[in-house]
């Protein structure tokens, strides 16, 4: 099956389709698609290029088999084209000087439906959800506590920095 198509359109459609399928990927994990085309490559023949519809219906694992390029054709992007992998490493802490938690209960604080304090009216899901969300965002949550002295909940997160043009600062 031979067909001709414009390369930029293929890239655009592939990136948009993968952007819709990677919705479930963990946030903060970097996911880039680079398209490299080296016109000097001897491997590119018209017969080897598959039509857009076929490529889009093929699972990503099989595309590499169909792909006409070899590893040596891939040239890393120039320094100024790469996105800097900057992230702000932040620690959020919530400290209080309340009743605290006894050391034997510290391990089960993050379990669902656990209420080591028996003080509140909720079902005891809050900290469990917090822990799982933090882990989902690629961080970790922990607690230091002493009975009758207070407790200190903290979590570390690496938040990717976003560049916003100064003229758009008011919109956020």
């Amino acid at each position: 099956m031979l067909s001709s198509f414009a390369t930029p359109e293929l890239c655009k459609s592939m990136s948009s389709s993968s952007a819709t399928t990677v919705r479930w990927i963990r946030p903060h994990s970097r996911f880039y698609i680079y398209f490299y085309f080296s016109p000097a490559s001897p491997h590119v023949k018209v017969e080897e290029i598959h039509p857009v519809s076929l490529i889009r219906q093929t699972p990503a694992s099989k595309i590499s088999g169909l792909f006409p390029f070899k590893a040596k054709d891939f040239v890393p992007p120039a320094k100024h084209m790469r996105r800097p992998p900057y992230a702000a490493k932040l620690r959020f802490e919530v400290i209080d000087t309340g009743v605290g938690i006894a050391p034997q209960f510290l391990t089960e604080v993050f379990e669902p439906f656990s209420q080591p304090l028996r003080l509140k009216e909720g079902p005891g899901l809050g900290l469990c959800v917090s822990q799982r969300l933090t882990q989902g965002l690629g961080g970790r949550i922990s607690v230091d506590s002493k009975l009758n002295e207070g407790s200190r909940f903290w979590f570390d997160l690496d938040l990717p920095l976003a560049y916003v043009h100064p003229s758009f600062h008011d919109f956020f």
Partner: protein
């Protein structure tokens, strides 16, 4: 006064339902993240505002330390804003017994 009570109950139920929903979505690996670019400083101020209301109701002293003195480009991050807010709110909900002192601290632990 009654309106306040109704509002508080509504918030409690909303938090409970969304917690249960999130938990069951996580159990089935169906959790969707809604990442967006947002202003980190504004988020912390927002959370501090809700903490302040809580602290005022419980008659406790609230202190907010933001040890982050960012250059302007540090201010905007890309993450799930609502989930981040939920993490902090859930941690805060634990302290129903009124502590006399309550700190929200945000500090950079390095620059990647």
């Amino acid at each position: 006064m009654f309106v306040n009570t109704i509002l508080t109950c509504g918030d409690t139920i909303k938090a409970l339902v969304s917690n249960i929903l999130d938990l069951s979505r996580m159990e089935t690996d169906m959790l969707e993240w809604n990442c967006q670019t947002f202003n980190l400083i504004a988020l912390v101020e927002e959370i501090a505002g809700s903490f302040a209301l809580f602290a005022h109701n419980k008659n406790i002293y609230l202190q907010v330390n933001m040890t982050i003195e960012p250059p302007f480009r540090w201010q905007f991050v890309y993450s799930d804003k609502i989930r981040l807010k939920k993490i902090l709110t859930n941690v805060r909900m634990e302290h129903t017994h009124p502590p006399p002192f309550f700190v929200l601290l945000l500090k950079p632990s390095g620059f990647n």
